[in-house]
Symmetry: C2
Subunit: 392 residues, 2 copies
Amino acid sequence: MAGKPSRGLADVVVASTAVSDIDGRDGRLSYRGYDIGQLAGTVSFEEVAYLLQRGTPPGPAELAAYRAELAAGQDLGPAVRGSLPAVARAQPPMAALRTLVSLASADDPGTDPPGRTDPPGPAAPPGPAAGRATAARLTGQQPALVAAIHAARAGDGAPPPGPEPGLGLAANFLLQVTGRVPAERSAQIFDTCLVLQADHLMAASTFAARVCAATLADMHAAVVAALAALSGRLHGSANEQVMRSLAAARAADGDPVAAAAGQVTAQLGRGEPVTGFGHRGYGGPDPRAELLRELSAELASAGDDTIHRMAARIEDIVAAERDLHPNADFYAATVYHYLGIPAGLATPVLSVARMAGWTAHIIEQHADNRLIRPGSAYVGESGLTWIPAADR
Amino acid sequence: MAGKPSRGLADVVVASTAVSDIDGRDGRLSYRGYDIGQLAGTVSFEEVAYLLQRGTPPGPAELAAYRAELAAGQDLGPAVRGSLPAVARAQPPMAALRTLVSLASADDPGTDPPGRTDPPGPAAPPGPAAGRATAARLTGQQPALVAAIHAARAGDGAPPPGPEPGLGLAANFLLQVTGRVPAERSAQIFDTCLVLQADHLMAASTFAARVCAATLADMHAAVVAALAALSGRLHGSANEQVMRSLAAARAADGDPVAAAAGQVTAQLGRGEPVTGFGHRGYGGPDPRAELLRELSAELASAGDDTIHRMAARIEDIVAAERDLHPNADFYAATVYHYLGIPAGLATPVLSVARMAGWTAHIIEQHADNRLIRPGSAYVGESGLTWIPAADR
């Protein structure tokens, strides 16, 4: 195919979507028409997941039924439970998640047919109802899976506590990871983190899910592709890197804020990119980062504010030197730190939030599908004649 | 983002590549400058995989060393061996492959760091040498994995025989799946099938792998995304559907060729697409299908030619009614049938071939990377005000 490659597809509009939208100039992000500034702190992650997956906000009865579907998803199925300890000990968390979400299709009555007679034929794409049910199941399952992987890797490998039926998804996750029922305000803040990171247009993981779904592969397959893409350090694992950089600077001798400043100044001097800054979609500030900064400051003010002050200093330096704003990964990292989430779980936590958006995009792709198969420009040699190995 | 969506990206050039090229008008496909007509039947799949992954044909010493790398990959690692029986019995073959290739990163010294101390940080992208080693390992592992999954699902679940060190990858696969050392000509023909299906530009699975690799996710992650995409019925599982349609027509009462003709005529009458026909890349014949038809005819002439005659009749009808040519999936299905490969393994077999190309594309993407993150056109509502659930 001729033509200049659109490397990175930054200038290419690949899909129509009604799931989320940004106004990059004004720094606004909205989910199905609702600005995230309006949702953050007032609407629960469960309601936002429902909104994304099913198109409209839930009424009281719908929300209660949806919460029950999520709770059922938290109850890991037999195939996943059987393999989880060995997988979690053999692979880092993001790889283990990829493996176990892939395996979880065996536990989902809605997608791959059960039974082990001669391999069943390729399934027809699940209908909208099946897609919605699987989306809820995956959304409830993801925090339980992350917590179970964390528990299996830590200490004596005992399963995590809970979940407790009276708590929401965010509070239960903190309970399962930290071992303590969180303070109400901590649970609210984490819930807001999940809301802020529930969807973001054609992020690379979401796009990978849509490419996969567009072959009419099922929802589990598409979500596995998304998890695979999220693990890259130019995407989801940026938050983990931010936290590890901050931890490294803090562990150095002397004043940690000065150490963080020195670290980032050296990076800028070498012309390196600074993880957690800039986003292709926003010319100005990233609205998620603005809201996460406030939450980070609030949590810092209640105790040791060192990590937040280090982050704020880095933000000032990068703004002055490069005119770049922090993105959602940057202050998500410090908020997670204050909530007691280990750095190694930062990217899995992002997957807990993004599962809501991925599944919404997969449902949308399946509902009005066309195979996504771009062209390429060939730049290699042509018309070569093969010489047998023995004659070389 | 404004602009009309390029749905399916059919008109968008997404990457420069030196891996493969087609001339859709003349019906030619080439791998790194070598026309597949020149490779088919004369060059082994191992040499083609080397060519795709490492850029040039191997000399005798390089080929011997590469064969040893593939053989090492055939030896499944401890993490995969431990989970394989349970996974293979719980999931259909393509889902089991996705799960087990994801798990296999635990057995690969080249990618995810081993050890289970506190989760390791996100790995830097593997360098070219590590990428090449993992590519060879994955290419050797894939046929062994497909055969082991098949064996675990069948009969008493005993592991497959072999592989035998004196046989090539194609012959060993047939041995492991059918339980018999194949006739030399059967092994040659299957080897040619693998050569013909080793790569195909930006096929949806390859593109999914590149989207994933472009986040700097590692090779296992990207290959898992490719497997997820291959499972869709608009992509890799088309070959399985072709075989199941032929089997259904053959099982009907009366003349099977007439039954196949009746089946496809009815489909055409209902305006349905016919699986195995047409390809976005070719205006005329698909060169792979032309070569596979010859192989199918050769195998048919040695025994019961019913399935081949049924396929040929379908080809004639679709050509007359729709002016469409068969694609590679169509006659691959009949060749696999004659080689004794069960219909349920047709898509996994395609993954054995395509692993060579996927890994070559991942190496190419990592070597000159940019995040692939397209735009979208928002088509939903805007400026909505959230009403609390209790007030609805």
